[in-house]
Symmetry: C3
């Protein structure tokens, strides 16, 4: 940071913040088909859709609120966000400090036909980004319902980050 790198315990600002928040990024999920987790084009890094996987296992399955409560779906949204960050981190050689702004989150929520609490669920990932990045974590957001999501996931999130060029 200051030109005098300490070789022991040297952490980036974002890594330090993650640690303070008690957060550990999951392993970056590997797509199992002909696509990639992230692409950088200009100063934008976009991710593929992330579902709430941890250690290769889908953690939240089924619609809200019949199969998962709003609180569980929030947790699912948060886990999707951590996976998006893990994917971004992998693309940035581990240096999340290169992220200068969270530009956009799209939050898709598998829902029963009378559900209307999308905003509350999406806050799970929105609040995560602001906790980590501060004002630079405040993004444009689209939240919407879906009758189904891949593998039966409860939530899916795609992210666009602005990065240093």
């Amino acid at each position: 940071m200051d030109g005098t790198p300490s070789y022991d315990g040297d952490m980036s600002v974002v890594q330090q913040r993650l640690q303070e928040l008690g957060l550990v990024l999951p392993c970056a999920p590997m797509p199992v088909a002909n696509y990639v987790p992230t692409i950088i084009c200009g100063n934008e890094l976009r991710t593929s859709g992330q579902i709430p996987m941890r250690d290769g296992q889908l953690q939240f399955k089924g619609t809200v609120p019949s199969c998962q409560s709003v609180e569980e779906a929030q947790e699912a949204a948060r886990l999707c966000g951590l996976n998006a960050l893990a994917a971004a981190s992998s693309a940035l050689d581990g240096d999340l400090d290169q992220i200068t702004r969270v530009l956009q989150l799209r939050v898709y929520i598998a829902s029963d036909s009378d559900f209307d609490g999308h905003s509350t669920v999406a806050n799970g990932v929105s609040d995560l980004m602001v906790a980590i990045f501060g004002d630079a974590g405040r993004h444009t957001r689209v939240a919407m319902g879906a009758n189904t999501l891949p593998l039966g996931a409860t939530v899916e999130v795609e992210a666009v980050f602005q990065i240093k060029t």
Copy 2:
């Protein structure tokens, strides 16, 4: 416009067009969570998802066609578009003339399971943009159905505008 500003009734091209069309922009809706209505990155201004709110009240609720007719949903789409413009206007200090092109509209429509008139509904907002911006209002468009939308809204629209840099 011509270097001789008139201090009385001085209106931008877009403001004048809005007036001719008898349109009044609603108050820019304020997100109630950790996100923002718009972000400008380079020459692109993107909005968060807009639902058909006016004066803080959701005007169109429920699926098409059982709860709202196609005509009502068109009106809802149009109101979403006005909210997107209100948000953009707020980001541009009121100067919508900075918009050089409507790049993309995504129109999500809460629908019954046998609905197939998405295009007609989406025309509500597509026609609005062309009425206001002329050829520069012709955009790429994605219309799709959703079983549910935030707060039970009938339509949700997100927009990407190209702006002067």
Copy 3:
């Protein structure tokens, strides 16, 4: 390519690859409303949502798997991809070699409420892009379910391509 154009049978790299794969681009579908098939902004070409039309007829209708099998939906996704390429080709005066990367595909799948094979369906278009463009065809991807799509289509795809500037 090499400054010595052959006037007979001169084909671009992508055209040659399409021929090897036995693929013929459909006629670029014309939007029937106030929007356009594609817009180029900077080095990004984005398409409107494409449904599985061929010769003006929708080829795949209804949800997966009750109305269309997973294999049929894969074929539908592939046809959507061909329509996206047809639209891009039209915007690029027929020269698909200007595409340097497939940046993103969003694949919307009309699904029954217990469907979870979105990835398999989306592979129909993902594999197509890699078959045509090789590594440059590997994209970020979002796949999700929808209870309905325009005209009752089984699949809808939107694409973002990076192009030479």
